[in-house]
């Protein structure tokens, strides 16, 4: 009975808990967190089960209300969407295990709405991944974005301004997507992805089709913070509460990258964005620009979370680069990088949250050896994630970059190899700047006295375990990447590349 409803269950679990949290919250604030945690653990189990079923038996479709698609709305659990939903639910569970103290100190008595909105965010993100209908996707996109604005806005003093700017740009992105959808609907009379995929190849290349495709790509690229449309991202991630940025940075923009992948290779045929329109090339150039821009600006930042936000701009570039190149190798690299970056960024942002909780700030110029002495485990996790971001084998980050480099060589686009190597060097610069302070700089006497006075040195186990799990996972993802690639990623790549 459950099997047949699998595609629906993950978003439904989150949605149900989003409604339950305010209800149980009547009994007291302390009940909000367990409900959110249990729901996300449950969703993780369901999504892992979904992935195994899909890999064994092939894609599952769920027609809402018994209305057969393309008239009704359907949810599709295929290898790509089930894999992404496993990623989303796993990262969310780990971040939520970590969240309790961090949310308490950042958000205080607004815990109940915070957890409820977080669950709504996850409803939206998993809904985007699982839906098989383009308009439904727009609705989920807006659900997740609205929830995202809300959890960003409860952060530090400038957070509402950052959230407002994100809202303005995000709404422009969503509206662009909707305009594109309007043209596509006028041309085809359908909104179902599978149905569209069979109609679009028969259409002549007319201006409305071009407008529709480019509007949708631009809209999604805005949500994805692809350079030069990344303006909203650094402020939003910096001023958001630690838990919100640890949740949004790894998975928020990745879901938009998934939408781009879905649009370009599953709804439109892969040759459309490559041969008929130069969208793939444009994406590649923008991605390369973003990779370099993000890395260079990350070097200039004085605040850890802001540095990580700029590094996100650069990492999103890698994913867009893979999508833009659009070969088998490149897409493997892009999907692998979605996974790797989710784990790396989650680990890094959790450590940033830990230092904020213990030391009270995360300003890089005030880091010194006392961090290493008092928070050895958090800093070890940071180091592993940072090395993975730079791309040191056998950590996960190396392998996705490797696939992208191979894809560049395969298409004899040597400049891509140069860009990736250069950006790896630049990321070595900005991460070693932090690592040097932590490991080589002797603690200043004033700092040491200050730390001695702190009653809590390293963070609690409940916060340490998820941080270490995420960075430990980088070893596993790296060492077993060939299994992930051959067993999972190859089955999800589109046909006709």
């Amino acid at each position: 009975m459950i099997e047949q409803h699998l595609p629906l269950l993950v978003p439904f679990t989150y949605l149900f808990s989003a409604l339950m949290i305010p209800l149980v919250g009547i009994g007291g604030r302390r009940y909000a967190y367990p409900v959110a945690l249990i729901a996300s653990l449950l969703a993780t189990l369901v999504s892992v089960h979904g992935l195994t079923v899909v890999l064994r038996e092939g894609a599952m479709r769920y027609a809402f209300g018994g209305w057969a698609p393309p008239i009704g709305i359907e949810f599709v659990l295929d290898p790509l969407s089930s894999f992404l939903s496993v990623l989303l639910t796993c990262v969310t569970s780990l971040v939520l295990i970590h969240a309790r103290r961090s949310v308490e100190s950042d958000v205080g008595e607004k815990e109940i709405p915070f957890y409820s909105v977080t669950m709504l965010l996850m409803t939206g993100l998993t809904g985007i991944v699982l839906t098989g209908d383009l308009f439904n996707l727009f609705v989920f996109l807006e659900i997740s974005s609205l929830a995202g604005y809300a959890i960003i806005a409860v952060g530090e003093k400038p957070a509402p301004v950052a959230a407002f700017r994100y809202l303005i740009l995000g709404t422009i992105g969503a509206t662009m997507y909707l305009i594109g959808l309007a043209f596509l609907y006028m041309l085809t009379g359908s909104l179902n992805m599978a149905d569209l995929a069979s109609i679009i190849p028969q259409l002549p290349l007319t201006p409305p089709l071009v407008v529709s495709f480019s509007m949708m790509v631009v809209g999604v690229a805005l949500k994805m913070a692809l350079f030069p449309m990344h303006g909203w991202l650094p402020d939003a991630y910096t001023y958001a509460p630690s838990t919100a940025s640890a949740l949004l940075a790894p998975i928020g923009t990745k879901v938009a990258a998934y939408v781009l992948l879905r649009l370009m290779f599953f709804v439109f045929q892969p040759s459309f964005g490559r041969d008929m329109l130069p969208v793939g090339d444009v994406l590649t150039y923008l991605a390369a620009g973003g990779i370099l821009f993000g890395s260079i600006f990350a070097i200039a930042q004085k605040e850890l979370k802001r540095m990580l936000a700029f590094s996100s701009v650069s990492q999103i570039g890698y994913i867009a680069l893979g999508i833009g190149l659009g070969s088998q190798l490149a897409l493997t690299g892009a999907v692998l990088h979605i996974v790797n970056h989710a784990f790396m960024k989650a680990a890094l942002f959790l450590v940033a949250g830990n230092t904020r909780l213990v030391v009270g700030h995360s300003r890089i110029d005030q880091f010194d050896g006392s961090l290493r002495r008092f928070m050895p485990w958090s800093m070890a996790a940071f180091t592993v994630a940072a090395l993975s971001m730079i791309g040191i084998p056998p950590l996960a980050g190396f392998f996705s970059k490797w696939y992208l480099v191979l894809a560049g060589i395969e298409q004899s686009a040597w400049w891509i190899v140069v860009v990736i190597l250069l950006s790896s060097l630049l990321s070595a610069v900005y991460f070693f700047r932090v690592l040097e302070r932590i490991y080589l700089r002797e603690p200043s006497t004033a700092g040491a006295v200050e730390y001695e006075a702190l009653d809590r040195k390293e963070v609690r186990m409940s916060m340490l375990v998820p941080t270490l799990t995420l960075s430990g996972a980088l070893f596993i993802l790296g060492l077993f990447n060939s299994i992930i690639v051959t067993k999972v990623i190859h089955s999800m790549l589109p046909l006709g590349l």
């Binding site: 727009f138 807006e142 609205l146 806005a153 509402p160 301004v161 407002f164 809202l167 509206t175 909707l178």
Partner: protein, 122 residues
Amino acid sequence: MIEFIQGYYAYWAIVMLMLIGLYGMLLKRNLVKKLIGMTILQASVILLFVASGTKWNGTVPILDASRSVDDPALYINPLPHTLMLTAIVVGVATLGVAFALLISVYRRYRTLDEETLLKQMQ
């Protein structure tokens, strides 16, 4: 040139609204004016969808004994309208969140002017 405009008045009006909305969102300094721009932009997209569903001499898609049931040209396509009901709800929700953010911004900074805000954030 005339053919380019004639018969497409609705679409030209929609494009004008779209541009006005985008202009407001991107170039106005006052945050409330940005929101007004946002509403205009969303309204223009809603009109675009609704305009795409209309037909000359078409009527509401409700079974009418005096009209033929077989001819789809007699009935307006209802799907864009229903889609736009959802889009309107999304728009209202966005506007609600945006106003909540503005109230919070004003309480913290006592201004809604973007340049002043950016200066104060530094």
